[in-house]
Symmetry: C2
C-alpha cells in the first residue's frame, strides 16, 4: 500500500507546515527517501545531518550557495516510525513569511517536490500509519473551532470509531467466511454456523450500527455547528436579541463575508457548540401591507437553518407582518422557537392567537434590553442543537456524512441479509449481502477505498499536513 | 543578568509560537525552571517526559483531567543550551486554532505564565544567548518581506555587526583603561599610551563608525523599503503606469487598508527591494483652473515619500495642471524623477520647458500601454533606492534608527575626545568623552542598556518569540 509516482520511484515532498504569517517558529517538513539527503545539502551544523541521531534536534544554519538563509533546528524522523511512515525531516526556523518561503524554495531546488494538500497525511494513510477515519479526524481537529468539534475529532483520531467498527466487522467477517466455505461444500450440506447464530449476529450488528447512525444528529452538530436563523418583522428587536446573545457568549467570527442575501451572520461558541446565527433583514411594513421582497429573503434565509427563531414584540398586538413571517416559517417545516421580546414592557401580544398560529414551536419570553430570559433561551437553543450535550471525552459519535452514508448502506445490506436468511434463499445471497455490508463498513476506515474518495478527502486538507 | 520576578523566583512562561490560523503543525513553547515539570504533567507517552533524553522528540498524547487534548511530539531542550538559556520544552501538535489554544490553557492551568511579546527572546538576551542587535535581527527576520530585508537581518543575526563594533570597542577600551590609570598616577606624570597613539586610534574608530553611518541610507531601505509617490494631473496615465509596474514585478500586498488620503498604496518586490508605491488622486481640471484640493492631497502624499515620480503625458503640451503639480514637487525638496508616458503616441510635450520647470529630476520615457521603457524605469528606481544594490550575504549595513543614533553619538564623543586631546586639556576630559562614546557603542549590542530600551524593543515582537 505504498505510493509511487509515474517512474516507479518515490518522490520526496516538502511544504511549509505551520500556518502562513509572522510567528516565532515556522516548520518546513520533508518526507520521502531523499528527505535527509536534501535537508543535509543545506545544513551546516556541528555534524552533518546524515549522521544525526534519530529524533534528535540538531542546531545549525541553512546555507544555499554561500547565502545563509536562516538559523534552524532540524530533526530527522527515520521511517517507518514517523508521521508518514517514510523518512521525515522537520526544519524549525525563525518564523516569517519570506524566510520560510526561501527555505522551501531551496529544498525544492535541491530536489524536493512541493507537497500537495494533505499529502503528508495521505502518505501516512497509504503506509498504514493511520486509517481513513483517523485521517479525516486530523483535518477536523485542525478546523475545530469549539470544544465539541475538538472532542469528537479527538475520539476519532484516537481510533475509537475504528475500534467499534472493527468489533462489528470481525464477528461478521467470521460468519461470512463460514458461509462462503459452506458454499464450497454445498454438495455436502454442512453448516459451520447455525442460522440462528448468523441471524443473531446480524441483528446485533444492525443494532450497533443504528446506534451509530442515530448519533449522527449530535455528531454533525458537534463537527459542523448548528445553523440558527432569526426571523421576524422589523422593530421586534432581532438585532438587539442577537447582540444580547453575542454579549453573553464567545463570538468567534462576526460578519462572515459573502453574505449576499442581505443577512448578517455571526458565529458564537455557546458552551462548546458552534452556532452560526443568520439575522434576516426583516419584513417591513410598506404600502403593500406584506412586502414580497421581505418574504422572499426570509424564505431563503430559512433554507439552510437547523432551527428558526421567530421574534415577536410582546408589547404590541400581532400585526399582519407577524402573520406573514409565521406563514413562511410554518411552510418551511423547520423546527421553530418563538421568542417574545420586550418582556420588560407592558405585554399586549395575544398569546393564545400566537400559539394557534404557530403550533409547532415552544415560546420563550425575553428582554434583549435587560437580558432577562437570555440564559434560558441559550439553554433552550443548546438543548435543541445537541440533545444530551457535548459527547464525553472518548465517546464515539458519527460526524461525517460520508460515514453516515456508509453506515446506512451497511445497515441496509445486513437487514437484507437477514431477510434473505429468513426467506430460506441460498446462502450465496446471504453471503453477498453480508460482504456488501462489510465493504461499506470498510470504506469508513479506508480498508476498502478508491482514488476518488482519497482525492476528495485529502484535497480538503491544508498544504503541509 | 538573569530575569527574576517580584518574588525572586523565575517564572515559567508558555506561548503559542507558530502563527495563528489553521496549519499542519502548531508549536507551543515553554521556558523556565518548571518547563519540563509542567509539560510532563500533561504528557502521556512511552516514558515520562521527566526522563526524556535532551533534544529528543517524544511522541505521546496531551491529557488534562482525563480529557485527551491532542497527539503531540514533545522535545525537551535543557538549559543553558537552549534558545532562552533556560529549560525549554517545545510541544509540536496537530495545527488548529482551538486545539492549540486548549493546550496553552492547560499549560497555564498547570502553572505556566502566558508569555509576553518577545519574552523568549528577551530571556535569551538576558541570559547572554544573543546580544541586543541579534535580538532585533530576529524580529527583522520574521518581518522580512523581501530578499534585501532578509539578508541584512541575517547578517546582524549572525553577529556581523557585533563583531565589527567589538573590534572598535576593544581597541578603545584598552586606551580608555590606560588613560584612567594615568589619572590615578597623575602626580607622577606617567604616560601608558602616547598621545599620537590615542589620536590615531580615535581617528581610526571615527572612520569605521562613519562608514557604518553612511551604510544606513542603504540599510534603512533594505529593512524598511522605499516609499515612492506617483503624482501628476489626471489622464497622464498614473494608474496605467502603476499597473505596468505591478504586472512586471512581484506585488506583495495591494490596497493597504487605512489609506484615508484618497490614495492607493501597493507594495512591490522589485529585485528584492520592497517599494511602497502611493498613487495620488491626481489634480483635476475644474472651473477653478488649478484645483486646491488636488494640490493639498498631492502635497500630503509627498510628505512620506523617499522619492517622487512625476508623470506627464508626452502626447500633449504641458498644461496649467502639470505646472501646479511641478510647483508642489519643487517645493517639497524631495528627490524627483520625471516620467513622460505615452511614448507610443506622437510626442507633443515641450521637453525643454519641462526640464526648465523641473530642473532637479532626470527624465525617463515610457509607454505604460506597450511596456516600452518600463524595465529601464524599474532599474532607475532600484538605483535610486539602493545605490550599489542589495548587500552581499554577510555584508554589514546599519538598518535601525536606534543603531544609527547611537553611532552618531559615539562619533561625536570620539571627535570631541580628539579635540580635547589636541587642546591639551586634562586626560580626565579625554577619558570622559571616550567612555561616553564606548557606552554609546555598547548600547547597540545591549552591553549597556535600560529597561525602557528593552521594553521598547521586545514589545515590537510577536507573542511566542
Amino acid at each position: 500500500m505504498s505510493r509511487e509516482n509515474g517512474s516507479g520511484t518515490h518522490e520526496t515532498i516538502a511544504a511549509i507546515s505551520t500556518p502562513p504569517g509572522e510567528g516565532g517558529i515556522a516548520v518546513v517538513r520533508l518526507s520521502g527517501p531523499r528527505a535527509v539527503e536534501i535537508a543535509a545539502s543545506l545544513f551546516q551544523g556541528m555534524n552533518p545531518l546524515t549522521e544525526a541521531k534519530p529524533r534528535t534536534a540538531c542546531h545549525g544554519w541553512l546555507v544555499q550557495n554561500g547565502t545563509c538563509l536562516d538559523e534552524a533546528v532540524v530533526t530527522v524522523f527515520p521511517g517507518p516510525r514517523s508521521y508518514t511512515g517514510e523518512d521525515v525531516v522537520e526544519i524549525s526556523s525563525h518564523g516569517g513569511t519570506w524566510v520560510t518561503r526561501r527555505i522551501l524554495d531551496a529544498l525544492v531546488a535541491a530536489g524536493a517536490e512541493p507537497a500537495a494538500a494533505g499529502e503528508f497525511t495521505r502518505r501516512a494513510f497509504l503506509n498504514g500509519r493511520l486509517d481513513l477515519a483517523q485521517a479525516e479526524a486530523v483535518a477536523d481537529l485542525i478546523r475545530a473551532k469549539t470544544e465539541a468539534s475538538r472532542r469528537v475529532a479527538m475520539a476519532h483520531l484516537r481510533g475509537r470509531l475504528t475500534e467499534q467498527l472493527d468489533h462489528i466487522r470481525e464477528r461478521l467477517l467470521g460468519i461470512c467466511a463460514h458461509l462462503e466455505l459452506e458454499l464450497d461444500f454445498s454438495e455436502e450440506d454442512v453448516e459451520f454456523t447455525s442460522r440462528e447464530e448468523v441471524s443473531g449476529s446480524l441483528a446485533a450488528a444492525v443494532s450497533e450500527i443504528e446506534t451509530l447512525i442515530r448519533s449522527y444528529a449530535r455528531g454533525r452538530v458537534c463537527r459542523e455547528g448548528f445553523n440558527l436563523t432569526i426571523v421576524g418583522r422589523t422593530n421586534v428587536g432581532k438585532s438587539s436579541l442577537l447582540n444580547a446573545l453575542i454579549e453573553r457568549e464567545r463570538a468567534i467570527v462576526t460578519d462572515i463575508p459573502g453574505t449576499t442575501r442581505d443577512t448578517i451572520e455571526d458565529v458564537l461558541d455557546m458552551d462548546g457548540i458552534c452556532f452560526t446565527i443568520t439575522d434576516t433583514a426583516g419584513i417591513r411594513e410598506t404600502s403593500d401591507p406584506v412586502e414580497r421582497e421581505g418574504v422572499r429573503r426570509t424564505r431563503i434565509a430559512i433554507e439552510d437553518a437547523d432551527m428558526v427563531v421567530v421574534v415577536f414584540d410582546g408589547s404590541t398586538p400581532l400585526t399582519p407582518e407577524d402573520s406573514a413571517v409565521v406563514d413562511v416559517v410554518n411552510g418551511s417545516g423547520k423546527p421553530v422557537l418563538a421568542v417574545v421580546n420586550k418582556s420588560d414592557l407592558k405585554q399586549n401580544i395575544e398569546l393564545p392567537l400566537l400559539k394557534q398560529r404557530l403550533p409547532a414551536g415552544e415560546t420563550v419570553f425575553v428582554s434583549a434590553k435587560s437580558q432577562a430570559g437570555i440564559p434560558g433561551l441559550i439553554a433552550r437553543l443548546e438543548e435543541a442543537a445537541l440533545q444530551g450535550g457535548i459527547p464525553e471525552s472518548g465517546e464515539v459519535v458519527i460526524t461525517h456524512a460520508r460515514h453516515h452514508a456508509a453506515l446506512e448502506r451497511a445497515r441496509s445490506s445486513f437487514l437484507s441479509a437477514g431477510d434473505t436468511l429468513k426467506s430460506g434463499l441460498s446462502q450465496e445471497f446471504v453471503a453477498l449481502d453480508l460482504r456488501a455490508g462489510l465493504d461499506a463498513l470498510a470504506e469508513i476506515t479506508g480498508a476498502v477505498t478508491s482514488d476518488d474518495v482519497l482525492n476528495h478527502i485529502f484535497n480538503e486538507f491544508c498544504i503541509g499536513k
